[in-house]
């Protein structure tokens, strides 16, 4: 047996290696440095992420399997790496002001965030269920800790406990599914699974189907599909705001990376078996997410239910299962990244000291006190609701047209109806900002440069890719 690994193997995971290296070094550095130098650690983390982004460019145009069929390097890998790295970088910028604001030490935060991103990138480039599992756990275990980072706040610890218990519970289902698939196929490699399904597309073993069902449960927990969404609002509300933003965008994108890699690319042969299940889940997820978001009073909780609804929209693209699926899902993930990070950044600014002001009523009169901030929030909300000329509109357009292309007319109609429902609560925030008097007139929140940059990137991205969607969609084929 040949164990010689070539340079191509290592090139394929270069961004992962760089980020892990930075994570380990920063972890050791953080405990040796003085208090003052610790402030620079998030910025060093950003440097690591930028280096990883640069190394990601070396992978463009490649298409091969590395590490004995464990890792796949293709354009999807590059695209997912890009999404995860940008999410991590922007979330890290959100934390730069957070440690003073919360009066807690954020020593381990940057290394944890880097490790979590490493897990996501492993999921994005996985060619084996083992890599999916390891990536998922690397991501989740770091996230459990990050969710409970405000150690003196009951809400934060409660969020961590709930996230941990339900996340580990879901992992159990995922693993059992993998074990059953392994028993039928004799391997956990996607290559072997695709070969098995090529031979047995019409009569796959019952155990294989049960395993696939359990995988849906496991992934469903991670991306918060109804009926596996119970943890989402509690965890999003209790976690520190930068973590919520990172979790909402990164963990969901990673979950969809796994779904795309397994269902769309490896198990397409038995799509007739799982498409109906996902159809039902998509409808449930969109509807329940949007309806429950209507009654929320807390901005974090509202965005949590909205993120459930967006998982439903993304699932519409997966159900379509045609050539448009992967480009549409990728485009929407980018859209989701920009609008959600923008919204969370502004919510972070408004929430102020100790995150005491997270209720939507605190947005009242923001247009008077801070017009630019209000405008940016309005743009994010309009994009989340899916109005042109924003990226949110184009993303939904691509997803629903993919569904129509495969003949899922009703699914597309339900999706559009749900978008209309969602307008109510997104516009509710805009109305609060523009048509109400401020609760506390004198209050002007400070915008630190890092958070301001995130808002700027989000708003510019929402418009550029909303008006010229081809520039982004072209990259995804």
């Amino acid at each position: 047996m040949n164990v010689n690994l070539t340079g191509a193997d290592f090139l394929g995971i270069l961004p992962i290696i760089i980020l892990s290296g930075f994570g380990v070094v920063l972890m050791v550095l953080s405990v040796f440095s003085q208090r003052f130098h610790r402030m620079t650690i998030p910025y060093l983390g950003v440097v690591g992420i930028i280096l990883a982004l640069i190394s990601n460019f070396f992978l463009i145009g490649k298409d091969y399997l590395a590490f004995q069929n464990m890792v796949r390097v293709d354009w999807l890998t590059v695209a997912f790496n890009f999404i995860f790295l940008v999410t991590a970088g922007l979330s890290l910028l959100l934390t730069t002001s957070y440690s003073e604001q919360e009066h807690i030490e954020f020593i381990e935060f940057t290394p944890l965030l880097l490790f979590s991103t490493v897990g996501m990138m492993l999921m994005g480039s996985a060619q084996n269920l083992m890599m999916i599992f390891l990536g998922l756990e690397t991501m989740s275990i770091a996230l459990y800790v990050m969710a409970g980072f405000r150690r003196n706040h009951r809400e934060s610890l409660e969020a961590a406990l709930k996230y941990f218990l339900l996340g580990a519970f879901a992992t159990g289902f995922l693993l059992y599914g993998i074990a059953l698939i392994y028993g039928v196929v004799g391997s956990t490699s996607f290559t072997a699974i695709a070969q098995y399904l090529n031979k047995n597309a019409l009569s796959p073993d019952l155990l294989f189907l049960v395993g696939t069902g359990l995988l849906i449960v496991g992934f469903g927990f991670k991306v918060a599909l109804v009926p596996f969404h119970m943890w989402t609002p509690d965890v999003y509300q209790g976690s520190p705001m930068p973590v919520t933003a990172y979790m909402a965008v990164g963990a969901k994108a990673a979950g969809f990376a796994a779904i795309v890699r397994f269902f769309t690319l490896s198990a397409a042969q038995i799509a007739y078996q799982w498409v109906d299940v996902l159809w039902i889940l998509a409808v449930l997820t969109m509807t329940v997410g949007n309806v429950l978001a209507l009654v929320q009073k807390d901005i974090k909780r509202m965005l949590a239910y909205s993120s459930i609804a967006h998982a439903g929209y993304l699932l519409v693209g997966i159900v379509a299962d045609n050539d448009l699926t992967v480009p549409a899902v990728m485009f929407y993930l980018v859209a989701y990244l920009l609008m959600n990070l923008g919204a969370f950044a502004i919510a972070l600014i408004v929430s102020g000291n100790q995150e005491r002001r997270t209720r939507i009523e605190y947005f009242k009169g923001l247009a008077e006190t801070q017009p630019m901030l209000a405008l940016a929030m309005a743009i994010c909300m309009v994009s989340l609701a899916g109005f042109p000329p924003t990226i949110g509109f184009m993303g939904k357009f691509y997803l629903f047209s993919a569904a129509l292309y495969s003949g899922y007319v009703w699914l597309a109609i339900i999706g559009v109806i749900n978008s209309l429902i969602s307008v109510y609560y997104y516009i509710g925030v805009v109305v609060a900002m523009y048509m109400h008097k401020p609760v506390d007139e004198r209050r002007i929140e400070q915008v630190v440069p890092g958070v301001g940059l995130v808002v700027l990137v989000a708003v510019v991205g929402i418009f550029i890719f909303g008006i010229f969607p081809g520039s982004l969609a072209g990259l995804f084929g």
Partner: protein, 121 residues
Amino acid sequence: MLVEYIPILVILAMALIVAAGILVLTHIVNPRIRNPIKLTTYESGIEPQMEARLRYPIRFYVVAMMFILFDVEVIFMYPWAVVYKQFLSQGWFIFWEMIIFLAILFAGYIYLYRRGGFQWE
């Protein structure tokens, strides 16, 4: 087939018989003397000072946690050691691989040490 399970059944039965036998036997043969001194925890010795079910300091759990972490990582060295000689002929990669693995583990140890994980307070 099911015949395979007979030895396990025999062991189970023997364990049950021995355990139940001892319990029953002690009840039959032991002398029954009941007075306050007989009923104390240590009949001839130190007088009990408090309840036996006290709460352990939380540090024990933390130490157990750290032990598990470093202990379990060692299982990766077993498969590595099994194939080490065979793969060494193809280059030193297999050697450096484990060095890198241990270096990362050691970085974790240093972090824990500096962060005060090993102090009892």
